[in-house]
């Protein structure tokens, strides 16, 4: 069998928290990389997630994967490909169709010391299990006064894909991001995917890991350091993907790519945009965002989710609280349309931010000199 060794009976945690925090500090800083091959490897986000899962399962026998179609089918989006053959059905568990069931079961096993990685086929289906994510997982450490911790990861695609309609397209970043006790991560590139998933699995707190279906197939260059099995990204640190001095654009997940493309277009118009990849919605890296806004004095937030009570609203409030005096223009939020996602391709395109929307918002923020006229 696996020869699982527990340190003590009744709820030991496998990799205990004291071993983890030292790993969390690792960050790929270009100047630190030495003696590695100069050819940068490319890796799809899918492979990045798969390799991260594989390495963490190899390193800790308490880590196991559970969800619909994760085993025999190799994963609905093939993220768990090959894991069943390698680790067996005990650690790659195919479930009946019951999100509430397997989320609750995962949490229960985490109470007793296992480290589950629960896959929701999309986070839209997590709504059927949301009581367990929030009341059974997020709040347990607090409600038990530290007697129970829940080292669980809930992962899966979040937000819109392409032509999947209203019940498969909602973004849950704002919902989960508002809950104390949860950590919410939103990777963009393959390095993000690898580093953040590894950090999430090693973290003693419950983590909601929001991926993006359309990013799974995208390839990104990965450094040799990121390919190492001990690689880990810190939770709660945003990444400045592109430095700039005129305007700050914050984004996460797929929108980071859009924001980068918008920045290239803006460059031609003489607007030098700084693009921040949030990487983490909770905790939100207010320090990095505010430092950037204090430098550029203008802010555009981008997200695919609904505008009301969204991520952009929180970022705007944070900047107003911390850096009000530095703003030269009101903050603009670029978000999805306030409608359930339509299915028809032309309508769907209108329902989500496109690169042009980000460009226009950035220009408005740069040139707005006349405030909106008050009525009478």
């Amino acid at each position: 069998m696996f020869g699982i060794v527990r340190q003590n009976v009744g709820g030991a945690r496998g990799l205990s928290s004291q071993g983890l925090n030292s790993m969390v500090r690792l960050r790929p800083i270009a100047s630190v990389i030495r003696n590695y091959s100069s050819a940068t490897k490319e890796m799809t986000v899918r492979d990045a997630l798969n390799s991260a899962l594989d390495e963490e399962m190899a390193a800790d026998p308490n880590v196991y994967v559970m969800g619909e179609e994760v085993g025999e089918y190799q994963g609905a989006y093939k993220i768990t490909k090959g894991l069943l053959d390698k680790y067996g059905p005990e650690r790659v568990v195919d479930t009946p169709i019951t999100e509430a069931g397997f989320a609750g079961i995962g949490v229960g096993s985490a109470y007793h010391g296992l480290r589950p990685v629960i896959e929701f086929m999309t986070f839209n289906f997590s709504m059927q299990a949301i009581d367990h994510v929030i009341n059974s997982a997020a709040k347990s450490n607090y409600m038990s006064a530290g007697q129970i911790n829940v080292p669980i990861v809930f992962r899966g695609p979040n937000g819109p894909a392409a032509g999947v309609g209203a019940q498969h397209s909602q973004c849950y970043g704002a919902w989960y991001g508002s809950v104390p006790g949860l950590k919410v991560l939103v990777p963009y590139s393959s390095e993000d995917a690898r580093g953040l998933l590894k950090a999430a699995i090693r973290d003693p707190d419950p983590v909601v890991f929001l991926e993006n279906e359309l990013l799974y197939g995208e390839s990104f260059p990965v450094s040799a350091e990121a390919l190492d099995s001990s690689f880990c990204l810190p939770i709660g640190k945003a990444k400045i993907e592109r430095e700039g001095k005129d305007i700050t654009i914050t984004a996460f997940s797929k929108m980071v790519g859009y924001a980068l493309k918008a920045a290239e277009i803006l460059e031609k118009d003489g607007i030098n945009a700084e693009v921040i990849n949030l990487r983490s919605i909770r905790p939100l890296d207010r320090a990095t965002i505010n430092a950037s806004v204090r430098k550029t004095n203008r802010l555009v937030t981008v997200e695919e989710g609904f505008p009301q009570h969204g991520i952009g609203a929180e970022i705007c409030a944070s900047v107003v609280e911390d850096s009000f005096g530095y703003l030269d223009a009101p903050v603009e939020r670029v978000a999805g349309a306030d409608v359930p996602t339509p299915y028809a391709a032309n309508l769907e395109r209108m329902a989500f931010p496109q690169i042009e929307d980000i460009v226009r918002a950035a220009k408005r923020v740069c040139y707005r000199s006349v405030p909106l006229a008050a009525t009478a």
């Binding site: 067996g88 005990e90 509430a100 069931g101 079961i105 607090y142 409600m143 038990s144 129970i148 003693p204």
Partner: protein, 466 residues
């Protein structure tokens, strides 16, 4: 022949026999492409014990014959099923309900005369004293709520046997996932009267650090998971913890308690169904006390209670008289053995009556007759019944009784006084345990609060420590 049967015959001759068998062969081949093959026990060998999966791919030679089949049974996905030409619907209601296991009648007499249950005097007296203690605890804390000293309480009246006898049949390593009407299990495991009182008063000695509402006890050292308010969520959690025990091959199981009302929740279905598929050592203990706040059982479900659902999920189940401590003990004892030795879930439905109100926020006389309540309180009292039994055996007397109850009352009154006087948890504690390591924003807020309290000390109560 009817039109329907003619169509049926036409369809079966559609595939020629050679096409049919080659179709089958392709089917077998594709399913064995994924290693290890599904049909062999190797797929689930290490984890799933003896259960063989029956799929369409494990086809008997019978079915491979080239004759047009007029078979008596067919290997459908899920297993072989016999055909019948009688169109009979399985009835939704039973003329006779599932029988209820009971060994002690209301007079405290054993209805069977064997030593199936080897209960020593020591164990029996311990069980009785705990049941009596539980009654005293309920009385005193209920009164404390009525006096305004605590804001909420719920009693276990009528279910003392369920609480104590089931706990007595378990080992201390078995993980308990309670609902909220099982403080007796914690009492059995050694939770003291003072510890109960501390939780209710939310003072600094409370293991929950004042975070939880009343009666939401939890104690890691007693393997009793903190009570959680949403109904039935503990059911799949118990299955998950049992899965963890199974992976470690521990000589323990999990037990989860829930009421008749909980059996309506989706989590009940998911938990039971899943536990059977995963083959884990979990005991599902349903306290069918007839009421979910004001909802009587007849408005909750229409089947024969909860025990019959076990079979639907493939789980061995038993119905037991919840007011009979010996029957409950015996059932849980055996269930635990089955769960661990066979790595299987077990369902126990204990029939009883919720004698008390749902909680201190409820007045049940508004929706049920008082004489019904009184009948169950007196005639079927599990405590009285067990007392008669141990007294008949010469293990207990009136003197023991009055002595014990008065001791507990004194001790408990003292515990309540102590708990009331003890300081509340420090305010600084409010920010801990949200995460494993406190994040920066909470540290900032904690510091900001500390400064505010210090600066405006006059405006805040002086007896609340930092």
């Amino acid at each position: 022949m009817s039109m329907a049967s003619i169509k049926f015959i036409k369809r079966t001759s559609f595939l020629t026999s050679s096409q049919f068998s080659s179709h089958l062969h392709r089917w077998i081949d594709s399913s064995s492409r994924n290693k290890p093959p599904v049909t062999s026990s190797g797929r689930f060998g290490t984890v799933y014990g003896g259960r063989q999966l029956h799929t369409a791919a494990s086809i008997s030679s019978d079915q491979l014959s080239t004759e047009a089949p007029s078979r008596q049974e067919l290997n459908f996905p899920g297993g072989s099923v016999k055909f019948t030409s009688k169109r009979i619907f399985i009835s939704g209601s039973n003329e006779e309900r599932a029988h209820c296991y009971r060994v002690l009648n209301e007079n405290g007499e054993l209805v069977i005369d064997n030593d199936l249950l080897k209960i020593t005097k020591e164990l029996a007296v311990k069980m009785y004293t705990n049941m009596a203690t539980l009654q005293v605890i309920d009385t005193i804390f209920y009164e404390a709520q009525r006096q305004g000293r605590i804001s909420f309480y719920l009693t276990t009246t009528g279910e003392e046997a369920i609480n104590i006898a089931s706990a007595a049949a378990l080992s201390n390593n078995d993980f308990v996932f309670p609902q909220y009407r099982e403080p007796g299990v914690l009492l059995w495991r050694g939770f003291t009267l003072q510890e109960f009182a501390n939780q209710l008063f939310g003072n600094k000695h409370d293991y929950g650090k004042g975070r939880q509402m009343h009666v939401h006890y939890g104690s890691k050292k007693h393997n009793y998971v903190t009570v959680s308010s949403p109904i039935a969520t503990q059911i799949p959690q118990a299955v998950g913890a049992a899965y963890s025990m199974k992976m470690e091959k521990q000589d323990s199981c999990t037990i989860t308690y829930f009421g008749d009302g909980s059996s309506s929740e989706g989590d009940f279905h998911a938990g039971l169904n899943f536990s059977a598929v995963m083959e884990v050592p979990v005991i599902f203990f349903c306290r069918n006390n007839g009421w979910a706040i004001s909802t009587p059982i007849s408005d909750q479900l229409r089947g024969d209670g909860i025990v019959v659902r076990g079979k639907a999920y493939g789980i061995p189940s038993i119905r037991v008289d919840g007011n009979d401590a010996l029957a409950v003990y015996s059932a849980v004892y055996e269930a635990r053995k089955m769960a661990i030795e066979n790595q299987t879930p077990v369902l126990i439905e204990a029939l009883t009556y919720r004698v008390g109100h749902h909680s201190t926020s409820d007045d049940s006389t508004k929706y049920r007759p008082v004489d019904e309540i009184e009948w169950w309180r007196n005639d079927q009292s599990p405590v009285k019944r067990f007392r008669k039994w141990i007294e008949n055996k010469g293990w207990w007397s009136n003197d023991n009784e009055s002595q014990h109850r008065s001791n507990i009352r004194k001790e408990l009154a003292q515990a309540v006084q102590n708990a009331e006087r003890t300081q509340k948890p420090p305010v600084a504690d409010m920010f801990n345990n949200v995460y494993d390591v406190s994040p920066k924003n909470l540290n900032e807020q904690k510091e900001s609060l500390r400064k505010t309290l210090k600066q405006h000390a006059k405006e805040y109560p002086s007896n609340v420590p930092w």
